[in-house]
Amino acid sequence: MLARLSVITLFACAASPTIAQSAPRDLDISFDVEVGEPLMIAGQEQTAYIKITLGGFALPTAHRPPVNLALVLDRSGSMAGDKLEKAKQAALMVVDRLQPDDVLSVIAFDDRVDVLLPASRVTSRDALREKISAISPGGSTALFAGLTFGLEEIGKNRDAKRVNRIILLSDGQANVGPSSPNELGQLGEVAGRQGIAITTVGLGLGYNEDLMTQLAMRSDGNHAFAETGNDLARIFNGELGDVLSVVAQDVSIDIEFDNGVVPVRALGRDATINGRKATVQLSQLYAKQQKYVLFEVKVPPGAAGKKRALADVAVNYSNMINKTKGTKKSAVAVEFASTKVAVAKKQNKAVMEAAIEAIAADQSRQAVLLRDQGKIKEAQKVLVDNARYLQENAARYKSEKLDTYSKVNAHDATNLDSNEKWNATRKGMKAKDYQITNQQAYH
């Protein structure tokens, strides 16, 4: 509902690649807890948005944690030709960027699974390159099995000191083995709990974006939509950039809300809310990126001038550079004021921006659902409204980000009619929504 246009503070995780929010302090992560409206209107129950931001730190040169990477590549019949060629090239590029201390495994799947390269250190690149070059297209798509063996290979070297990652590339619908987004999402969650993030790359217009986004989301990996094989190089590079710049892993955020403050939901991320407690897991933090979690909470009415503590937040993480476990704590509170002007003056633009973006992303997801049900007109209305909502707030907060996103929504609204266009549009929308929600660095 757009009613929340009134006084909205968003809790969301977002990273803006162009902004280094916090300056790195001695190879440690940055940790900030903010609220959208530090000054709130007195005398009424309101919704507040708490933003917990975590930032990575610059990697000391040539000192990055070793990587435990599995490439799971779809080589089903539909990949034949240019797609597979480009995929192989992208994979070869990955090989080139790894170091002897890194562990790489390559799994190819069609309706069978082939562990082309069991988990091994990247010592002999030539042999590796040969194996990758030799991949040839085959039958149908056993995505679940391919992923499973990727997890097996990762499992051989999975340890906290490594960045454990799976890059899954597929161009088609999984049709052998479990293939529903829900099931695969649950597998992603299992992987995520093990500290393995699964980045999914969808190639072309034939893959199941729901499945791919679920898989990525639940394991806290990245997701990208490659329209053609030519996009693969860029995407893989972006992904490798992330993988090679992990500074913290096993990030666990525990929030305890103050008595009376009711957490409504986390925006965009999976959070477990137990009464007044909530936890959110993040798989990793990258060197020059920020991720944030946005919580929407209900604040009971307060008297003007009175302070009110909102939440205590603790973050536990593994520092990959120091190889230590770190903990940080913080808290956030609000004050009550009687005038809207005062409230408006103190607004935290970044938090509001993030919150609005997250809400808009949520709306966009709604539009997708409506369009899936064939309700084209309703979906268009949602997107148009969304665009307007974003435009208004872009003006209010002077936010370029919101402005851009508003245009994207407006554009998407025009692409809902034809089914072929919808297919591509949907993939684009889901990818974009995901990247916003995930604060993904590349796209």
Binding site: V113, T148, F149, V176, G177, T272, N274, K277
Partner: protein
Amino acid sequence: MRAFWLLVTVPLVVAGYLAVRMSSERGELRHHEVQGLLDGRLADVRVRASQAFGAIERELDGALAEAPAGADELRALARRLPIARQVFRLDASGRLTFPVGGPEASRAELEFLERTASIWTGRAILAGDSASDAPSRSGEAQRRPTGEPAGPEDPQAPRARTGEDVTAGRVHSAAGVGDSLVDLAARKPHGWLTWYWAEGVHLLFWRRAPDRGVIGVELERIGVLSRIVGALPTSSLDEGRMELVDSRGQTVHQWGPLRGASSGPSSGDAELAAATLALDAPLDAWQLRYYISPRQRAALADELDLAPLFGIGALALALIGLAVYVYREYTRRLRDAAARVGFVTRVSHELRTPLTNIRLYAELLEDAALDDEDQSQRARVIVGESERLGRLIDNVLAFARHQKGALASRAQRVDVDAVVRDTVAKFGPALDARAIEVKLDLHAPPANANADAIDQIVGNLMSNVERYAANGGEVTVATRAVNGHVIVSVADCGPGVPARDRDTIFEPFKRSATALTDSRGTGIGLAIARELARASGGELALVDSDRGARFELTLPAYGGDLWTS
């Protein structure tokens, strides 16, 4: 002929039957062997799955060992177990203490309670394996692998299998299976519960807690599946295909080069698996299937083993070859004989009519001669010669006919004297013309012989007499019985036969030297006569005599009469 074919076909049939039996038994044996091989391979794969599952079990057992009771600790514990979907806790009285509803419960916890509500309240009959690792399959579970929908009509209500540990009385108690689980925990340290939900089988691992309660986890189905699949092979050693199939019959993972009839997800319907094996409990809703290639299937099928068949086939061919050869020989001989007989018959028929005509007309002439003695004489000569010609023809034909056996088989009671008399009578005129007197001394009992043969033999002898005996002499034809035989002797007063020719005169186309200048006679008369004698079961011999030639024909007497004159 029939006996002959019987002799060939009966052993063939017997041998063929034995071969078929042996083949099929060998085929059956091999079928079982191969089936055992396939089952063995599946069992090997299952071991992997069991090991992976065992590892999961050990992990869980270890992780749950402390069995905290507090909500926070339990939640933290769950976070450390990636494949745990939800952790739960029962106290010593079997009451579910975590998760509980209320404001503190997360959405996931609430959903868990919904999902498993009927388990704890006892409306569902929940059970586990009676022995931890022993595969146990009850009626319901057995239906699953064939692909029937696992879930009940109401997807909300889980349904479970019955096991032995849950006694009837307990099942419907208000506290539900919780306390029976506690009872179970008293007897076993840990165990599994399975029940069916939307996608398939769901697994619950429980462990005895130190406070005599129970701690357990509901597992993420797909997580378990993924762990199990990860332990399975990705390639196979043979040309078939193996699959892991879930409780709905959907292929979860497959390996091996053989492609299914439909290259889609579930190829199970299109083909028939050569072997299937359910995983060990509590995963026995999942099944390993083995599909084999047509070539492998051909080897499995109860086809006749070729080796013994080749042997029998060779034997049969040999027998048939032999039979064919013998048959052809036989029929060739038959044909030859028939041809000969046919020839003979035809020739004899051809010859007899003109011969008869000559004779008839000669006789008519003789009749018409009236008192013209010369004319009568001429006619008589013609008649005599035609008779002679007849005898000659008979000799030649008998020679060509070669029917020894036939003669013997047509032996019958013959009045020898009558035949001899008739035969001798035919030569009357010719002998008269040469003034040779015929003396008959006939005292023979009946013989067991062929009348025509006797006629021909005696005729040949008389013919010789006519030819070689001197003019004006006599020929004595006598018959008598000696020791069960009948002897017909023809003795003349001719020049006789030189001693050196005694044996050779019986050979065809030989002639006594002294008769060289005598151009009459073909020289097979005696040969034929002796052949005939022997064919009749007797003998013809030249016997010592004072003067002239004396031939004796010996024949078996009829009934072996001994009648001496």
